[in-house]
Symmetry: C2
Subunit: 427 residues, 2 copies
């Protein structure tokens, strides 16, 4: 089953909104075993939208639209798609009631009511986070059409809860997908280690790289969910065996999610002392709801005097080794652990660039120290390959810090040299 | 002149890479007065790419491709586009030399050399951040084609420095664009205030909303740059007059850029005390290169005891008013200013959700306090409209903090109630 996405919205063509919906829909389709061959974006223009819909219906099995379901005059997706597919729009009473409820007694304008007009005979997807419902239907030619709202906080739950089940139930097969997350190994290297697993047609295993990390997705297709799960299981176990301590989590979203969960499970806490990352590590930890159980305190000590004042880094250490040194990182980690009373203290210091580098301490040099009670572990990030910017470098430094905490929690050895220089191919 | 973007790359169709290139190219085209009518994404598949290129050349004046210029076997953009446009690929000696230099004497494989093969007669765009050059040419039918590499850190400088000048020089007109950035007013409200300016064909003024902020872009087209600039000037001044203190900057990228620049210009410093934002404010300040001149210290005081220990927030204040209160925010701001010796101290405390809300202190309630020497200013964010998630709420809290510093620096009055609930239309 091959799909195509049409994103509708002039704001996307002006570039002030980044199209994250397409990536989200693509990932969910891929998990569900649906291949995506094209995606395209058109503005709020009925002629161009009509042409795009006709093209999609001529070449793809499934058409998914995002955006243009709302109440305003430039929300034209339903009208245009229904006309292209030869369907009439009819009033869906339940959706109208839900919209009325949403506005709690205020008088509904015609434009609001328009949102309850849906293609005749369609399956309606309730909007649990807004007013415009989505829907799915099959054209006379047997093509499947799914329409979703544009705002991500409306689209994401509707896609997961209603649209994907709608698409897969028609498949008469259960699809189960598992994610094996890896930090510290390049995608190319992992692909070589597991190429035999990637060659298997069911379950499939595929590698993906993203911002200095990578993961393997294992997808099985079977008659029911239990059978599909059972097919994934041995492949996931084999991946864990081959990739060892570089696997940081199964079916999690991020290093910070793993770290917060593992700290909470063990009743442990962490405190952060950041220089070059400037608060990014604390921010990522506190991105996770419930972080307050495991994180009580962080310091951003950007100036040398503040490292001394807040963390007790000896002036002598700063003078002798400089702010960017393993000695300073260690003193920061020890200082924050002691002052906070946390089980883990982490210190980060480095040259994030673009300026400020020297021959001895180039842009990209970062030292991380983890004080975990057993002593202090140091990780060094050395610049390798080309400079990918301040944001990337700070992100990799925070990820390495999270990985050090994770390895300590899981009782694994450290990796001395951070493998952060996995460059993407050019072009 | 109407353009179309084709993004090439199977990774984009799997959804693990969000397509940020398209938004970036779209914005630059829009600044240059080029309208974008379509964008689409195809995988590394020559047949589908060929069909997409043929369609684009049949309906658009300009085709811009991103991705697929690299050395590997699935990098097929140049071959496919050149064939569709009836051009031969020939070796470009200078590009080959640059690639050889890049690899500093290592023996070049055929695949690396392939990157120097470019359409006959094209204008070559040097890749200042990688190996694969880009290029621009005109087809026999008078259509303009531009090919750019996929990685954003290669694409962005090439687009700005070579591709946009290449496209606009052909226009025989200078285009100048100014950005007026606004915080604290909704897009709809601003659009009403300036609708007469938006109706003018040259210079144009248009409003854009993005993550709780909005901006107005003024674009003028004239015979030369000086003339275009002179046309923008009175419109920008009029916008400043009508929008007053809600304009936080001209031709800047973000609130944090404005704040760091204005602090530096006045030789002032700021220190941060964060609870619910968990380091995000410090992170955003230190995203700006050179922040170390104006930011020396930040504290993330997630637990009550830490607020008392690090910032001296009285236990009595926490007991009587709670951690989420104007009193605690004020004590945090006073405490961080005093301990850091900075000119400005800012405190943030709130309920970021999704859990942790009560009837009295619901999810979304945030208090911000700024201590600037003259006293303390308080801003309250009250939940309004629907909850848009922890990330959005924390982002708005950090933006409000930056806006308070900015207003104080610019000698403006505060706004008591943060206008953070500007909801985007549904659908």
């Amino acid at each position: 089953m091959n799909a195509e996405i049409i994103s509708v919205g002039t704001e996307l063509l002006l570039g002030h909104t980044i199209n994250t919906d397409t990536a989200f829909v693509a990932r969910e389709l891929s998990s569900a075993g649906v291949g995506l061959l094209y995606s395209c974006t058109v503005g709020d223009n009925p002629e161009r939208l009509k042409a795009a819909v006709e093209l999609a219906l001529s070449r793809s099995d499934v058409l998914i639209t995002t955006g243009g379901l709302g109440p305003t005059g430039d929300d034209l997706t339903k009208e245009t798609v229904a006309a292209a597919a030869g369907k009439k729009l009819v009033l869906h009473e339940e959706s109208l009631r839900r919209i009325e409820e949403y506005f709690k007694g205020r008088v509904l304008g015609e434009t609001q009511k328009k949102q309850a007009m849906l293609p005749e005979g369609c399956t309606v997807f309730r909007n649990d986070c807004g007013t415009a419902p989505g829907c799915g239907f099959t054209t006379d030619a047997g093509k499947r059409v799914v329409m979703l709202p544009g705002p991500p906080f409306e689209l994401i739950p509707m896609l997961k809860n209603y649209a994907i089940p709608y698409l897969t139930q028609a498949e008469n097969a259960a699809i189960v997908s598992r994610i094996v997350r890896v930090f510290g190994l390049g995608e190319g290297y992992v692909a070589e280690l597991i190429d035999d697993l990637c060659a298997c047609p069911n379950p499939t295993a595929a590698t993906y790289a993203k911002e200095g990390e990578m993961f393997v997705r294992v997808t099985a297709r079977a008659a029911d969910e239990a059978a599909a799960e059972a097919m994934c299981e041995p492949v996931v176990r084999e991946l864990q065996k081959r990739l060892g301590g570089f696997v940081y989590g199964l079916d999690v979203e991020s290093l910070e999610e793993t770290v917060v969960k593992e700290l909470a499970a063990r009743g442990k806490t962490v405190a952060t002392a950041e220089s070059c990352t400037g608060g990014l590590l604390a921010k990522r930890i506190t991105d996770i709801p419930g972080a307050s159980d495991v994180f009580h305190m962080g310091c951003v000590t950007y100036a040398n005097e503040i490292k001394t004042m807040l963390l007790g880094v000896p002036e002598e250490t700063l003078r002798q080794y400089g702010a960017v040194s393993p000695q300073t990182a260690e003193a920061m980690a020890r200082g924050i652990k002691e002052r906070s009373g946390a089980d883990y203290g982490i210190g980060i210091t480095g040259v994030a660039g673009p300026g400020g580098g020297t021959e001895e301490k180039p842009v990209g040099l970062v030292y991380l120290a983890l004080c975990d009670g057993d002593g202090v572990k140091i990780r060094e990030m050395r610049p390798a390959g080309r400079y990918r910017g301040r944001g990337y470098l700070r992100g990799m430094a925070a990820s390495n810090a999270l990985d050090m905490i994770r390895r300590s929690l899981q009782g694994l050895g450290g990796v001395e040299q951070a493998a952060y220089s996995q460059m993407k191919k050019g072009g």
